[in-house]
Amino acid sequence: MTASSFKDELVHVSALNEYVYCPRRLYYQRYHDEIGTPYELVDGRSKHRGQAERGGWTTERYFRDDDLGLHGKIDLVESGDGTLTPVERKRAESGDYYPSDEVQLAGYCMLLECAIGESVNVGYIYLYSSDQRHAIHITDKHRRTVREIVRRISDMEVDNVPPLTDNPDKCEACSARTYCMPAETAILEPEKANETGWEGHG
């Protein structure tokens, strides 16, 4: 089998979120086009559509930056008192956002600042479930994390399937589960679950 990687290719901002959730999930998505389509996603998509049509905002602007190695569409950029603030909408059922959402938002802020040549230190996460928006202060730590994850994603290779997640709870909500078969893998080839959250579930 030939090895190939995503070197020389830009990383999509949404991949940051996927990677933080589970690297294996991102692997399936990128190499096998296999993430499944859970109904909540379908639902989220139609909500997006509705919102984008409403107008009044700058919606869905595409940004890319070769130095960062990132590209992606920002849902919505809000401009108030001369500052631009990216808004990322989330459909999280739990009424809360995840660290992976913060990383994704940090990626958007970094893309935006490259585009406008000014720092962007705040972004919003809007949650449909609670109709609340949360201001996130983007720190140096966020920025370092984004760069590190971009590097790791660029280093992914088709011959190296990332291990199962260390947190089986994530699998419960993972749309790639049908394909990934974490519990089944732990039963059929237990050594494949070693040192993952599925160890001992066989």
Binding site: T2, S4, Y31, G36, R177, T178, E184
Partner: protein
């Protein structure tokens, strides 16, 4: 442990009503009665489907085909009585990395996968016979061991052939009075039992084919069946383990429960149009019936089990798993 999520069971649709058109309407797929005045006969969310099987005089609107391509929905065409005519396969169902791994399989890799499939088939033959109270099948057990130890494809094929012969010799004993199964014949089927078995193999082969396509394996490049132009060798290979437990079990059930009688066949041993419709309905129900998975221990439908085997095969081919784990039913 709970069954993994997925929408496999509503993911395959059969359209048998003649004179209908399959169209798209705001994110849904609609079967419309064009010739008659039935209007909208059925509707499904586009996101949910991966395969549509149409029989005879059913057509697709052009926008629908574009949407099928976009959503990765495979369209299989059959004649009104179930002969396969061809497929529409969406562009996205060809993932280069998976194909590359499949084409790069070594002979040893292929043999290992084929052995697992045949071993399971022989095991499943014994299981079906014993479920029906047919005993004295130790010879099959020995042949299973022989399959396991085969060192080349020819000897594996030989073992498989011998096991099939022994198994079909005993299958007669599972049939209710008035039905006999002389000998497995293929073209043309010489009796009603053979006809029903042939039809069921075709139907299950199509399920397997859809599953392989769904997971981007090339169904025409086999591990055991010889590749021949137009022959879905890999589908035939993967089908082997399902033949006794899914195909033969279904055909004998139709006979033993009196769902299909001798009167349902035409002079050429094919099912009459009405009986074929009954058959299709029962077949779809059968695939949606659940059983307890022998290793995973959750309830799973037969259709989903077939899909899972396609995934497991793909994982063995791409090296994500070390070996192919066939579906082996021991009870």
């Amino acid at each position: 442990m709970k069954a993994s999520e997925g929408v496999f069971d509503e993911s395959v649709v059969y359209v048998t009503e003649q004179g209908t058109q399959v169209r798209t309407d705001e994110g849904r797929i609609v079967v419309w009665d064009v010739d008659g005045d039935g209007g909208e006969l059925a509707t499904y969310p586009t996101e949910q489907l991966d395969t549509i099987n149409v029989f005879g005089g059913v057509n697709f609107s052009t926008p629908f085909v574009a949407e099928a391509n976009e959503y990765g929905i495979v369209l299989n065409y059959f004649t009104e009585n179930g002969q396969y005519r061809g497929s529409f396969v969406p562009e996205k169902n060809t993932i280069a990395e998976v194909r590359r791994a499949q084409y790069a399989l070594s002979e040893a890799d292929e043999l290992a996968i084929a052995k697992a499939m045949i071993r399971a088939k022989i095991r499943n033959s014994r299981t079906l016979l014993s479920r029906k109270g047919v005993h004295g099948t130790e010879v099959l057990k020995d042949l299973g061991v022989r399959a396991e130890n085969a060192t080349d494809e020819d000897s594996l094929r030989g073992t498989e052939g011998e096991a099939a012969e022994r198994y079909f010799d005993r299958l007669d004993e599972t049939l209710t009075d008035g039905w006999t199964f002389e000998q497995r014949t293929k073209r043309p089927p010489e009796d009603h039992v053979n006809s029903l078995l042939s039809l069921t193999y075709v139907m299950v082969k199509n399920e397997v084919l859809s599953a392989l396509r769904q997971y981007n394996l090339d169904p025409f490049l086999g591990v055991l069946h010889a590749d021949r132009h137009g022959r879905p060798s890999l589908a035939l290979d993967l089908q082997e383990e399902f033949r006794p437990i899914f195909c033969d079990a279904f055909a004998t059930r139709l006979i033993n429960r009196g769902t299909i009688t001798h009167d349902d066949f035409n002079a050429d041993n094919r099912l009459s149009d009405d009986a074929f419709k009954t058959y299709l309905g029962k077949f779809d129900d059968y695939l949606q019936e659940e059983f307890t998975h022998p290793y995973f221990e959750y309830s799973v439908t037969r259709r989903k089990a077939i899909r899972q085997q396609a995934i497991l095969l793909r994982k063995a081919i791409t090296g994500e798993l070390d070996e192919y784990h066939p579906l082996e039913m021991t009870r």
